[in-house]
Symmetry: C2
Subunit: 296 residues, 2 copies
């Protein structure tokens, strides 16, 4: 997915947010914004937004000296999600269709991205999502919920590469992977996190804190981009990405960077940004399970 | 009011919106954003946001050659507001307190600024505002509704300078000024519009289209800033600004540019932007009638 002109105001907002979270004083915040302004004319609009995001967070890192501004937020998100883990498991167990209940909850867990800013909203959103009626309506009415293709691909797969998104949210991924492991015990599962800090994306230590190693082989993408920019990933990661029977990609950053890649991928995401919603053809707030068949 | 770092992403959004409304192609839109990026490091943060807005719209004008991108939107806003003029007058007439019903409706009319984007929302918002319960709650609960000071100043004044904001919205101003004229026939009223296009701010022709000359002496500020930057106003305007017994300032742009000025002013506005709401200490969406007593 290409960068839109609408992304440019958003880059400045992200830079300001990240500087503040990194504890920068007003003067440093200003110098970060000036530096972002300096690189704006150089942006290639055919690059994906996470490529520019990577540049922005590098600017923030250089100006503030803070390597991982979101460290505390990530830990809090993990703790928040671990606290509701039992609830999620119960919900899935009591459902008539544990697999797709887990898928829906997992996509809904993508709301944790907002969590850094407003934990009250997370509670509300999750309450809504945990309510049966809401979920049934969403699935039946959804043009972008390819459950049939997802199930048939699972049945034919011997290996899955699951691309993680944010800290905290990975507890929801774990719940889904536990269901997959139970229903399809023959499948080998890789769970890929980022190598280095990338906004609030999950790192290896988050995966460990959230118990992912119990359900998958946790690997690193080798990259610090908030998405999956294959050119910056490690060779070993790229090999798994190419060879896995099924790739499940979580969240907006992975969608933005992989929607133009020529291999089948299932995209699980909550459409949170109007540019992405417009690209998919859905509405902001929609729960998306998209079967991407590679470039035609 | 000073420019905040939060205003910077917003400047880019405004530049993009204005370029598109001016009919610029993608390449021109991009060059406008690049030019805004070029001037960002030069912004003085102790300048008011409308000063930067003035620069932005100048960049858009130079890149697109379009002198008044919002011309059509302004005309539509005028027509929309003129269509509900009778309703507004009836509402005021049937109210137990015509003056402050007109004040509240006038502030609510500040929503027309959003109108360019979504006329459905205007209808909804106005329906809400036109409902009795809502208004009473707002006035009783409002910490920023200085009706006592407003009334006593009116009683003592022989002249009022009313600073207009947007096209369309000025029909609401007219309804208020008609009530003032009726209750205080001794007061001379000047109604100031912008000299040249400034976003969707009202110009002389809008005032004429909306019947303002029937109720006030319509004058020009002499400036093209979307606010009242006294240094760019004409000398004749500045004299009236200084000499008028009472100044009523409408909307955010006038507030941003005059909140630091050393003379008593009544600010009527809907707090639409989080930076302004934060500055006032109110919430976004609040209806504000602020008695500013000059700098202490």
């Amino acid at each position: 997915m290409k960068t839109c002109l609408e992304c440019i105001p958003c880059f400045f907002k992200q830079a300001l947010d990240a500087s503040r979270i990194a504890g920068a004083d007003a003067l440093t915040q200003r110098s970060v914004l000036n530096e972002v302004a300096r690189v704006i004319p150089e942006i290639q609009l055919d690059a994906t937004p996470p490529e520019m995001a990577r540049t922005i967070y590098r600017i923030v890192h250089e100006a503030t000296g803070v390597d991982d501004p979101y460290a505390q937020i990530k830990e809090e998100s993990n703790r928040f999600a671990l606290n509701i883990y039992d609830q999620l498991v119960r919900k899935v167990k009591n459902s008539g269709d544990p697999l797709f209940t887990a898928v829906e909850l997992d996509i809904a867990g993508n709301i944790i991205d907002y969590g850094a800013k407003n934990s009250l909203n997370i509670d509300e959103e999750l309450d809504k999502i945990l309510a049966d009626e809401e979920r049934v309506i969403q699935r039946e009415g959804a043009r972008f919920f390819h459950d049939g293709a997802f199930l048939s691909t699972l049945k034919q797969s011997k290996s899955i590469l699951y691309l993680a998104d944010n800290a905290g949210e990975i507890v929801f991924d774990r719940v889904l992977l536990e269901v997959i492991r139970k229903q399809f015990p023959q499948i080998r599962i890789w769970f890929a996190v980022k190598e280095k800090p990338a906004i609030n994306d999950a790192l290896m230590k988050d995966a460990v804190m959230c118990g992912l190693p119990e359900v998958a082989e946790v690997i690193s993408s080798g990259s610090d981009a908030p998405g999956t920019l294959l050119q910056f990933c490690s060779e070993s990661f790229r090999k798994i990405f190419q060879d896995a029977d099924m790739v499940i990609s979580k969240g907006q950053g992975n969608f933005e960077t992989l929607s133009g890649v020529d291999r089948p991928i299932f995209f699980l995401l909550l459409a949170k940004c109007p540019v992405i919603a417009d690209h998919i053809g859905c509405c902001v707030g929609d729960i998306i399970l998209l079967s991407h068949q590679g470039i035609k």
